[in-house]
């Protein structure tokens, strides 16, 4: 048999080779799509702007719990205006989008969907290209421009952070404190009800402006809250379908 191949054969072989390589990837893609359909628990946060006083305890609790450097904030509180005499604030954790731009653009699958709807970051895989930062419509991602060393000013004298510090050169973001959720569930606790199984910011809020729970559970506090009231999500026009809902400070202002 002649081992010479002509141009036509070469093209045929190339096409066949690409097809063979692509099949397992397509299967994986379809499997990934299946995990997107809500099944089991879907964690969500409801932030009530009529209760929020802008004290910033959520940010502080988050920093202390997740050992976040002073230049970075996973949870940003901004004043958006006033209703009557009351100042209105908005707190912005990671939206944990159902269709997250960051997950799509990551070249190494460092950001992935958990089956419970949380967008998880793998800090051991991130290469620090910062494409996700550019793609996120909510500015929820921050890059570690330098190594965070020394004591964390946000961590109080008692207790210690429950999450390992991220290395220099990776992007980080809010995780809905899934380590607390996972540990709590293993202990038989209910996230959103039992403090030990609930995200740190929700626990730290002194006025109860943050609620947490399972959207697929009709009895959870978030489901009940959302059923009775007008709620909105940020930049819904983008179709990202966040897992963070807001109750406006004044219902007429939103409708």
């Amino acid at each position: 048999m002649s081992n010479k191949i002509n141009r036509r054969d070469f093209i045929k072989l190339t096409v066949a080779g690409v097809a063979v390589l692509a099949v397992p990837q397509i299967i994986r893609g379809v499997q990934a799509l299946e995990t997107l359909t809500p099944s089991g628990r879907q964690w969500a946060m409801v932030i009530d702007q009529s209760k929020c006083t802008g004290c910033g305890y959520c940010t502080l609790g988050c920093r202390a719990h997740n050992d976040i450097p002073p230049e970075i904030s996973w949870n940003v509180v901004t004043k958006t205006g006033t209703v009557g005499t009351q100042d209105v604030y908005i707190a912005r954790p990671c939206m944990q989008c159902t269709h997250a731009p960051c997950v799509d653009v990551c070249p190494v699958r460092a950001s992935t969907y958990r089956p419970d709807g949380i967008v998880e970051m793998d800090y051991n895989r991130c290469i620090g290209c910062r494409y996700c930062e550019i793609a996120c419509p909510y500015g929820a991602r921050s890059f570690n421009w330098k190594q965070f060393t020394g004591p964390n000013p946000s961590v109080p004298e008692w207790g210690q952070p429950e999450v390992a510090r991220r290395p220099r050169g990776v992007v980080e973001k809010c995780s809905f404190c899934y380590q607390r959720i996972d540990r709590g569930l293993a202990l038989g606790l209910t996230p959103g009800i039992d403090e030990d199984a609930t995200p740190a910011c929700v626990v730290a809020c002194p006025v109860g402006a943050r609620q947490f729970g399972d959207l697929n559970d009709p009895e959870s506090n978030v489901t009940k809250l959302l059923k009775g009231k007008t709620s909105y999500r940020l930049r819904e026009d983008l179709g990202t379908a966040p897992h963070v809902y807001y109750l406006p400070a004044n219902e007429e202002a939103q409708s």
Binding site: R7, C106, R109, R125, I127, G128, Y131, L234
Partner: protein, 426 residues
Amino acid sequence: MKIRLPKFRPIKIRLPRFTPWSTWVLGLAVILTAGATAGVMVLWKGLSLTNLSDKVPWGLWITIDLSSIAVSAGAFSLCAVVYLLGLKRYQPVARTATFIGLIGYTMAVFTLLLDIGRPDRFWHSMVYWNEHSLLWEVTMCVTLYLAVLALEALPIFAGFGWLRSHWPKLADKMSQAHRLAPYLAIAGLALSMLHQSSLGALYGVLKARPLWYRPDISVLFIISAVAAGMALTVFASMISARLTNHANVDNNLLDRVSHIIGWVLVAYLYFRFWDALAMTYTYEPGRTEGLHLLTGGALSFNFWVGEILLGTLAPIILLLNKRTRSLPLWRMLAMVLVVGGVVAYRWDTNLSGLLIYLSYLPGEPAMSYAAYHPSLIEFLAGGGIVSYGLLAFSLGVRYLRVVDHNVVKANEVESKVIEAIPVPGD
């Protein structure tokens, strides 16, 4: 047995003679050293040495990255012309373009390694595939295409005098690789069509950035890359032939390529015009402001003068007008303008989308403006990478005769014959 002591020689201090060549190489080496030092500092101290921020995470280095890939596009387009369209007469030009491509892509890889936060994890995209990510696709294509370029450049390296005299068999084997050229040209065309456009689509798929969120950038990127890639090849060939006797060019051939570049630029200008005009009709918050930033704001000089006037209109006139095109100085000027225009386009594309960002707050989407000016470290490292490219090309001209429109013709007939031919001009 007699022990022979080495003869003692008085130490003679000989100052190196400063020829234009040695000055050029020395100058580049100095910039390269400064750049390498800056690079080591970035790897050691981290990206906090740059002026990049969470608002503008991509800056000068991404521009160098995009530009060096764009100006390398001559390799795939000219190889396709030679081996797929069968226009063999362009082969000597394609040879130069291939060498430039190899340099350009290695420049891009160096810049990327510097720009990512964890260069030690550069291999992750090869292992952890995310086929939804344009950046993943670009990384894979660039890596594969770098391999293609290396194979395509094997016969060029086979011509290295030292290799020929010390490892003649290896050199022979290497020059045999030219038989693969048609297949490599197909692979190169496919990979380049994918990633040259995807570098634009990388921006175009981001819904959070209204100025970028349109399919047109990918089309503009690939057309401008073809123009810039061929332009750099023509310029580098002409300037080499002028400055050294290690290079000689077929003026007729370069004239034809220049004519093609002129028409590619017309196509580019048409799409750019259409793209910019259509953009205003969406009244999308952020997009209109981004366009204003380009046409009347911080980037307006770059846009009107760098991209449109000098980068596109002037070279179109210079290259489509037979008289100016046939005058070497005018033609070379046109080529420089094309390359400069494409670099300006890459810079503007990256920054115009980053300098404007939309607020996520409820209600009317509000625009905010960010600022970015590269730091000294960024300039030094960028300069180092560019001077690496210039140095590599200069060495190629001198020792590998990458710009030689006579040798290649002989090479094509039979690589072994070349050994018998005394290298002309030396």
